[in-house]
Structure formats: structure tokens, C-alpha cells
């Protein structure tokens, strides 16, 4: 008769191994400070805003009533929906403009510019970011006003003058200008990693340059395009300075509406918080899309 099998050593319980300091001490020390910062300055304030938004009609300095969804229902009025629609239009328009203007620049920088100058050109392009966005918006007032640079140029060329200041056009111009460097940076990073051998292979197989661009370059850089577009979209959705300074009388967007609720005469903090939660939700949706479509694994699999 065969000897009985020696009992196998007891399997180490899964969680005891995880408790061993060598496993969790490293991540905690590295993530701790940032995690604490995020918790205190992002998570808790957002929860606070969420709680305030759930008290209908809450005004600063007055005793609060019970909970309810009254603030969110108040948002459904046509005037506020219009303001939010306008914010979306501003954000989408500036994203499209940044993409159309930024892609050629990034393409040239990444693939066609002399290697020696590449970094310098990149720094030169993001140099405007070193100045305050408020100052840049004021600069655009000087450029776009009826007696400004654009009109002086147009008059000198004999063309009719334009009055773009205090219209939506000025807002699109201002937003696109503010966020173009971000788009160019992200697209540059994506285009730099483009495998040009694929383009050569496509040319060898008889593709025209246009086919090569649309069938190879664009799909390969799609994660970068998605990341850049979503970043510009998120930033311009919540932008306050440019629509206020350049937009004029018909440029109320969601950020300014929130500002008016908190610092205006009505001091309707409950309603302002509800609007803030809607903005946070829209941005979170955009970030979720970014995480989904900005995934680099599709790129590595293809190569």
C-alpha cells in the first residue's frame, strides 16, 4: 500500500500576505501625500457642494430647510438651459478650432521641423502660457476692438472693418488662443511617437499621401487627438475670464452664472451648488470618455 500523502502545507491565506508591510508600505508612502491632498482639497469640498446643492432655496445667512431636489429642478428652466447650451457651444467650438489649427502645427513640429530646433520651437509655442490668461484676454481686447490692430490692418489693406469684440466670435478666438498650446503639446507628444515606417510601407503598397494620412496617421494618433480635444473641452467649458471680457452682453456662460449665484445679490448658494454639480458631472463625463478612448494599448497592439 502506498504511504499516505503527506498533508500539503496549509495555503497561505491571501489577505495575510497582503498585510505584510513590504507589500503596502511603498505605495502608501508614495501615494500618501498626493492622496491626502486630493482627499482634503478635492473630495471633501465636492461632497460639501453636493450636500449644499441638495437643500432647495439655501441662501447664505439664512437657516436651511430640509433636503430636496428643488435646486436641480430650478435648473430646468429655459433660461438656464440656454446658458448651459451656450457654454457647450463655446466649448465645442473652441475645441474644434484648436484641433484644426493645432494639428498642422504639431505635425510640422513633430515630423518636418529640423531636429535641432524642435525643442526651441516647442518652448516658443508654449511661451504665452507663462503669462496670465487675464492679460492675454486684455491683449485680445486691444486687438479686436473697433480701433484695434485687426481693423487698422484691414483699413490699410482697403478691406471693410470688422467689429468682433463683444460677440461670440471674440469668445471663440479668445478660447482657441488660450488653449491652443495645450492641444499642440499633446498632439506633438502623440505625433512624435508615430512610426513613420508604417507610412513608408503604405507608400510602398501604393497609397497616396492623403490616404496615408487618413488611414495611418490619424488612427495612430487618435488617442492623442482624443486627449487633446477633451482637455481643451474641459478647460473651455469652465472658463470664466474670456467670455466675460470678450463676450459682451450675450455671453453669459455657466461659470459666470455660478459666480453670480455665490457673489451676486441673491446669494443663492443652494442653486449655485447645483449648477456646480452639473458642471462637475459634465467634466467627469468628459474625463471618463478620455480614459476610455485615450487608451494607449490600442497603439502598442497595432505595432
Amino acid at each position: 500500500m502506498a504511504p499516505p500523502l503527506a498533508p500539503s502545507p496549509p495555503p497561505s491565506p491571501p489577505w495575510a500576505d497582503r498585510l505584510a508591510p513590504r507589500r503596502w508600505l511603498g505605495p502608501v508612502v508614495l501615494l500618501g501625500p498626493a492622496g491626502l491632498w486630493l482627499l482634503l482639497l478635492l473630495v471633501l469640498p465636492t461632497l460639501l457642494i453636493l450636500e449644499i446643492s441638495l437643500v432647495p432655496g439655501l441662501r447664505l445667512g439664512q437657516p436651511s430647510g430640509g433636503y430636496g431636489l428643488g435646486n436641480y429642478l430650478q435648473i430646468l428652466q429655459p433660461i438656464y438651459l440656454r446658458v448651459m447650451g451656450r457654454s457647450l457651444v463655446f466649448a465645442l467650438g473652441s475645441t474644434l478650432l484648436c484641433l484644426v489649427l493645432g494639428f498642422p502645427v504639431a505635425y510640422w513640429l513633430a515630423l518636418m521641423s529640423p531636429k535641432r530646433w524642435r525643442n526651441l520651437l516647442l518652448v516658443g509655442f508654449i511661451l504665452p502660457l507663462w503669462t496670465s490668461s487675464l492679460l492675454r484676454a486684455y491683449a485680445w481686447i486691444t486687438i479686436l476692438r473697433p480701433s484695434g490692430v485687426v481693423n487698422t490692418l484691414l483699413t490699410a489693406l482697403g478691406l471693410p472693418t470688422q467689429n468682433w469684440l463683444n460677440t461670440s466670435t471674440a469668445v471663440f478666438i479668445g478660447l482657441a488662443y488660450s488653449f491652443l498650446p495645450y492641444m499642440v503639446l499633446i498632439l506633438y507628444a502623440s505625433l512624435e511617437k508615430l512610426d513613420t515606417r508604417l507610412l513608408e510601407a503604405a507608400a510602398d503598397l501604393g497609397a497616396t499621401p492623403r490616404q496615408g494620412f487618413w488611414k495611418i496617421t490619424v488612427p495612430q494618433t487618435m488617442p492623442g487627438i482624443a486627449a487633446g480635444c477633451l482637455l481643451v473641452f474641459i478647460a473651455s467649458l469652465g472658463d470664466f475670464v474670456v467670455p466675460t471680457l470678450l463676450g459682451g452682453a450675450s455671453s453669459m456662460n455657466i461659470s459666470r452664472l455660478i459666480y453670480n449665484q455665490f457673489l451676486g445679490p441673491t446669494r443663492a448658494w443652494g442653486f449655485g451648488s447645483a449648477l456646480s454639480m452639473v458642471l462637475i458631472f459634465a467634466v467627469s463625463l468628459a474625463i471618463a470618455l478620455l480614459l476610455r478612448y485615450g487608451d494607449r494599448s490600442t497603439v502598442t497592439e497595432a505595432s
Binding site: 461632497l47 437643500v55 447664505l60
Partner: protein, 375 residues
Amino acid sequence: MSGMRRLNAFSYPRPALSRRRFIQGSAAVMAGLAAANCRQNLSGPPSGGGNDGTLHIYTWANYTDDGLSQAFTEKTGIPVVVDIFDSNESMLTKMQAGGGGAYSIIYPSDYMVSEMTELNLLTELDQSRITGLENLKAKWVNPAYDPNNAHSIPFCWGTTGLVYNRKASPGAPVDWDFLWENQAALARRVTLIDDMRETLGATLKSLGYSYNTNNPAEIEAAYKWLLELRPAIAAFKTTGFESELLGGDLSVSMAYSSDAIALALEDDNLEYIIPASGSSLWTDTLAIPATAPNVEAAYQWMNFILDPEVARAAVERLLFATANQAAFDRLPPDIQNNKGLYPPEEVLVKSEGIVAVDEVSTALFDKFWTQVTSA
């Protein structure tokens, strides 16, 4: 076989409440607790700041400058720190939300004094500690917004009117109607003050109603009338229109007299007029908040400001209209006769101060103002 969990005598049963569940649950509970307790602070009293001998002042831009603070520090030895706010509402929000505990002197406007008195945010002034109250102009000895100056001292006053660029305007405005009559020529060349009561009030005045009406029909008529002016409005700006007005890109701007006079003195092409049918008469005051840490220094600052010589010097430098009769008498004639700064009595009599209206009317004002600015 090695991957299977074999339940034998040596393996631990998985606990009912696993460690991960416990951490998730307690994090959610703590977050909920923290958020729930935070709400109490919204309507609670603001916390006071520490008293370190410095006088913290919360005021409008252009009401104090370094010269004034230095003169005060030389005279009394108390250092002065000045913070600026740009609207009464943001000042009130800061005081209520707890960030104003360091300020011993604030500069609320007339209607804000009434509101803050009702909210018990101002201390009642001990008039025996204030010298110079007899210097005040007759109109401000017992003002309607603060009977007997119990909580505030009038500092300066002004009107709201139109400042226009002669070279860029289709005519010289005399009244609010100018804007509506010349709408076509003024397409996107007008700015209005970004204040609900001021702008809607000016529209009410141009229709012959009062700034402080409680009549819903009148308020709605003003709203519709203002909507008709929209094609002419470039933007709603309380300040920030100056460079465009000077450059001729704007024709007319609605402005407070304190801003407009200084601007008009810069350039001969600009002129400030008070509309003939009347405008709003506002007063900015000095007050001591209920949470002031340095009340003694606050009274010294008030006495300093009320001193005629100091007031005169401040007016000459900063060009606001003072409520101090003794200071006014010492001003040079060209400032005394400045019709914009010190309009004659027959113009003043048609102007009214903005006071709070009842709740229904406030809600109407708010709704119409949102429609006008967001459309």
C-alpha cells in the same frame, strides 16, 4: 491543484465583514459625517481674528491710498492693512461666510448698512468716541438708511449717470432716453452697469417710475423696455470700459460718479452728465463690524477720516464727493463747482437712494435681470 483553495483544518474561514468592505464602509461614513457637519457653518456667526494691534480695513478701490494710511500710522502709531472689494455683495458674503473676522473697519454702501444692521453684523457706534460728527453735511446728519448714524458714518456720496465721448457719440445725452432714441447709431457702443437695481432702476426712471417700486407691472415694463435696448448694449460692465471709451470704441457708458469724474478729468472729450429725470444717489459709509478685533483703532480711524484737513487732502487726491461739510468748504473752487461731483440741489432732489424692496419684487427683479443678462 495549487490554485485551488482547499478547505481543510488549517485554512481560515473568510470573515463575514472583509477588510476591504470595512474600509470602504468607514470611508463613506466619515465622508458623510464630515459633509453633514459642515452645513452648520453656513449660517453661523463668523469667527473673529486675533488682535495684533494692526488695523485691517476692507474698502473699495480708490478710497484710501498709501498717503492716507501712512499719515494715519504716523499720527497714531497703528499700522494699517487695506483689502479691496468690488461689490457690496461680495463683502457681505465674505463677512457672513467667516472670512471677515480680521476687519475692524468696513465700507458698506447705504442699502448694505440697512441690511447688515438687520443681520446684526454691525456694532452700534458710541458717538461720544467720535469727534467731527458736526462736520457732516446737513443731508447726512440723519439719513434714512441709518437713523442718527447709529451704525455708520457717511464717507462719500455720488450719483449714477452717463459718461460719454463727445467725438464718438451721436449727440450729447441729457437724459436716459438718449440711449433708446439713438439706438441705431449706438449699436454695441453702450455699456451699462452690471448691477441689477442700478440698471433696471435707470430703466424704471426713464419710464417715469421710481427706483424702489413694488409694482410688478412697472417692473415688467422696465424689463421689456430694457430688452429693446439690447442691440445697443456692448456689455454690462461696472468698470473696465475706460480704455475703450477713451479710445472712442464706446460712445456712452453708464457709470458711478466717483469713477466717471476721475475719467472725465483725464480727457477733455469725455463728459459726465446726471440724467435730467433723476438717477440714484448712493452713499458709502464707514462701519465697524460686530466681529471687529481692534475697536479702539477703528474709532481712531473714523476720527482721522472725519478730520476736515485729512478729508480735504483725500478728496483732492482721490476725487470723490465728500459728505464732510467742513472739508468741502476748504476745497479749491474748481472742485467745489464741479457739477458732476457736487450737483446742484435741483438735480439732487429728483434722485433717490436705492432701498430694499419687498420679497416678491426682489424675486421679480432677479428673474428679469437674469433674463436680460443671460439671453
